[in-house]
């Protein structure tokens, strides 16, 4: 009796889920179809802007600001009458920063005939999803995927980004260490992740090319560890006068704290994943004096000021990570559609390459490989509990 009851409920629930899933799916598909048909005949009412990225899970704090940015841009344009007479609608797709979920998100967006997508948050999922977009001729622009190969290998003509990539960032950090800090011996530590290791390797290469600095140590650490004293001792034993860390802020703050505890007070340079206020909060006084590279944001950039103010008004909080880049990406994509006059793939891509647009990251257009011209990295230093631009 009991099991029959249970199975019946389960069966109904599953059938219901399927029905909801599929049913909803079909309806929306029709809508999208209708939209597509309408575009051909007369200006339609809606232009769907896909936003794919980590909207849940532990990386969500890097992905959600992008969604907010897209919503803000859409709202602003809609208030001005939309793009080509169409109202912009944001369609969010969560990938939790996992490649397999990213392909699901991508196929869903393609199924819904979305032509322009802001995303994805992480490089790995972006690599997994891009072939699907490429085949369906969807233009994708990421505010945060910094893997060098995404643009530099040239596999994806449909991919653009408003952030500069690991190679440039690692180079910027290494050059800063060589020319400004005049270090002689450096220990490079990374978190074994795609992002952190990419940054570390690029810095290592720059040091090797520069020839004035020896790399005394190049090692990965385990994220989430409780203790990094062994690696700190190793840094100390190596006699390095500078640590270059590739990774995110939680480990960076643990390492810098333990370094100071063990009396290792040398330069600490890290990347954009560390250029986050949470780093200063978690590392406390130990964060003081640490350097981090980050995308160049013109402090007196009018667009950025306005976007940040809008964000405060709309969501009641300060914008999060990659917000300016995401804002720029949404702007650039929608501007390209407006300039192209339709969502036609070739025209949109051409417009992205040729049209300059004023964004929070500066006045940008995209080079042949898809990187934003003019977007680059600056170096910041923690001074009095705040990141301040030093170069």
């Amino acid at each position: 009796m009991k099991s029959r009851w249970f199975l019946t409920v389960l069966g109904v629930a599953m059938a219901g889920l399927m029905a909801v899933g599929c049913g909803g799916e079909k309806k929306e598909e029709k809508k999208a179809d209708a939209a597509a048909n309408a575009t051909a005949a007369a200006p339609a009412k809606k232009l769907v802007l896909g936003v794919a990225g980590a909207h849940s899970g532990d990386i969500a704090s890097y992905g959600l600001p992008t969604l907010n940015a897209a919503k803000l841009v859409a709202k602003e344009l809609n208030a001005k009458g939309g793009v080509n007479g169409m109202q912009v609608e944001v369609l969010a797709m969560d990938d939790q920063c996992k490649p397999e979920l990213a392909t699901n998100a991508a196929t869903k967006l393609v199924s819904e005939k979305v032509a322009i997508v802001v995303g994805h948050t992480c490089s790995g999922p972006t690599k997994a999803a891009l072939p699907i977009y490429k085949d369906a001729k969807v233009v994708v622009m990421s505010p945060s995927a910094t893997s060098t190969e995404l643009t530099q290998v040239g596999n994806y003509p449909n991919f653009f980004r408003t952030i500069s990539y690991d190679l440039i960032q690692g180079k910027a950090a290494a050059e800063f260490a060589m020319s400004e800090l005049k270090v002689k011996k450096v220990a490079i530590i990374h978190d074994k992740g795609d992002y952190g290791k990419g940054f570390a390797e690029s810095a290592q290469k720059t040091f090797a090319d520069g020839k004035t600095v020896t790399v005394a140590l190049f090692e990965g650490i385990t994220t989430g560890g409780v203790d990094y004293s062994a690696v700190v001792q190793k840094i100390k034993a190596s006699g390095a006068d500078c640590v270059l860390y590739g990774g995110y802020y939680p480990e960076a703050s643990k390492i810098i704290t333990q370094m100071h505890k063990k009396g290792v007070k040398i330069h600490f340079i890290s990347d954009d994943g560390v250029k986050d206020d949470t780093f200063i909060k978690t590392a406390g006084v130990d964060a003081e004096g640490a350097y981090a590279t980050g995308p160049q944001v013109l402090a007196d950039n009018e667009v950025f000021k306005k976007a940040a103010a809008d964000h405060e008004k709309e969501f009641g909080s300060k914008p999060g990570a990659f917000f300016p880049q995401a804002y720029a990406a949404a702007q650039a994509l929608l501007n390209a559609v407006a300039k192209a006059g339709s969502t036609d793939y070739d025209k949109v891509v051409a417009a992205l390459h040729s049209e300059l647009i004023e964004t929070p990251v500066g006045k940008i257009k995209f080079d042949a490989k898809g990187d934003a011209e003019g977007a680059s990295f600056s170096v910041y230093q923690v001074k009095n509990g705040k990141y301040e631009l030093v170069k």
Partner: protein, 406 residues
């Protein structure tokens, strides 16, 4: 009686709700910022918590009563209660058309639904096979393997690397991956044979971690955390497909592999080998005392499970066209294990159901996005509490004896 019972339940539920509200009070209500030295109190959350946990507690007690009554019935009545549904399902005159219908729906699926639906169904089918593979190791042979995902990684990287370096195609690597999986299964199987139960679990967990860590660190071999992209999709006699057709194509490949796996596992389950595995699971000493070579049986179970996982790895790499070590974490092993246990250890139908439930549920629950993992965890607990043997209880074959010969 019923009313008193109901009132009693309501009272118990109220107490439970108060207790849970008290328990969750600090985390739900208070948010602190130790840097700014500020405290935020969010009392509304407490109210939500009270109401929510009361409703849940009432449902819990209601179900618990049902469960206990069911258990009491079973004890007094003796024998196993057979659910009407499973009786119905076992009837071949019902089962056959049902299976035919299911297959028809499955075959027609990509033509009716969108590429997205097909795509997530492929994921679900991959997990069906993974579940069935782990079911051999855990469900039939009783060897708790917490590092199953390592074999999945072996297959995925085998295809990715062979494709990347030597341009080998999907169909060439598929059998190679299977062989490699079996090889790794035996390789890892050997040292752990002496261990039993939970020690086996932790060592296999360790192996799973080692494989992932090596993939992460040995960049020269596996390209490290950056992963391998641009893996070819499967082609057919030199024809390559676009994403849409390729999805449909992989879907049919997967469908064929699922049917094959179901066929193989169903037949194995009631064979000489399958019985030996079951005996191994039930009582290792008695099993050996009855002349079964435990070592052989264990290695076979390990190798076969690994082969299926490795096969799926190849398909997975071909499907996503990009892999990195992050796809092969312990959580993935736990997920596959959950499919097996939730579905019903040893039951083929149960595992299939479990895979669909665990893979499709989060996907269709996108609407609840942030709450879905919470609901997912709760579902796992609830199913285990109310159906510890899994959704479908494994059944043994009923033999018809030829009495004339007897």
């Amino acid at each position: 009686m019923a009313v008193a019972n109901l009132l009693g339940n309501l009272k118990k539920s109220a107490i439970a709700a108060l207790w849970l509200a008290f328990l969750t009070l600090p985390v739900m209500v208070i948010r602190v910022d130790t840097v700014e030295k500020t405290v935020t109190w969010r009392w509304m959350h407490l109210a939500y918590m009270l109401v929510g946990s009361f409703v849940l507690a009432v449902a819990w007690h209601f179900l618990m009563d049902r469960r206990d009554r069911g258990a009491a019935n079973r004890d007094s009545g003796g024998g196993e209660t057979q659910s009407a549904l499973s009786l119905w399902l076992e009837n071949p005159s019902v089962m056959r058309p049902l299976m035919a219908f299911g297959l028809l729906v499955a075959v027609a699926f990509p033509w009716v639904f969108s590429m997205y639906q097909t795509n997530i169904l492929i994921s679900a089918l991959i997990y069906v096979v993974l579940g069935l593979g782990l079911n051999i190791t855990v469900g039939l042979a009783g060897l708790l393997d917490l590092g199953y995902v390592a074999f999945y990684a072996v297959g995925a990287y085998a295809y990715a690397l062979l494709n990347h370096h030597f341009q080998l195609g999907f169909w060439t690597v598929l059998p190679l991956g299977a062989i490699l999986g079996a090889f790794f299964g035996i390789l890892l199987g050997f040292p752990v044979l002496r261990l039993r139960g939970d020690y086996l679990a932790i060592v296999t967990l360790g192996f799973g971690q080692i494989v992932r860590l090596v993939l992460e660190n040995w960049s020269a071999f596996s390209n490290g955390p950056a992963g391998i992209s641009n893996i070819s999709r499967p082609g057919l006699f030199g024809v390559t497909y676009g994403v849409d057709q390729a999805t449909t194509y992989i879907y049919y490949i997967m469908l064929a592999l699922v049917v094959l796996t179901i066929f193989v596992t169903a037949r194995l389950k009631d064979s000489r080998i399958g019985r030996a595995w079951l005996a191994l699971r039930e009582d290792e000493i008695a099993c050996q005392a009855m002349g079964i070579d435990n070592t052989r049986a264990k290695l076979m179970a390990f190798a076969l499970g690994a082969t299926l996982a490795s096969l799926m790895g190849v398909v997975f790499a071909a499907k996503t066209t990009y892999i990195n070590p992050a796809s092969f974490t312990f959580m993935e092993s736990a997920m596959i294990l959950a499919i097996v246990v939730l579905g019903g250890m040893g039951s083929v139908l149960g595992v299939i159901l479990g895979a669909f439930l665990l893979i499709l549920l989060p996907e269709y629950m996108r609407a609840f996005s942030e709450y879905r993992m919470l609901i997912f965890g709760a579902t796992m607990i609830l199913v285990m509490v109310f159906r510890p043997q899994g959704l479908i209880r494994a059944k043994r074959k009923v033999y018809k004896i030829n009495t004339e010969a007897a």
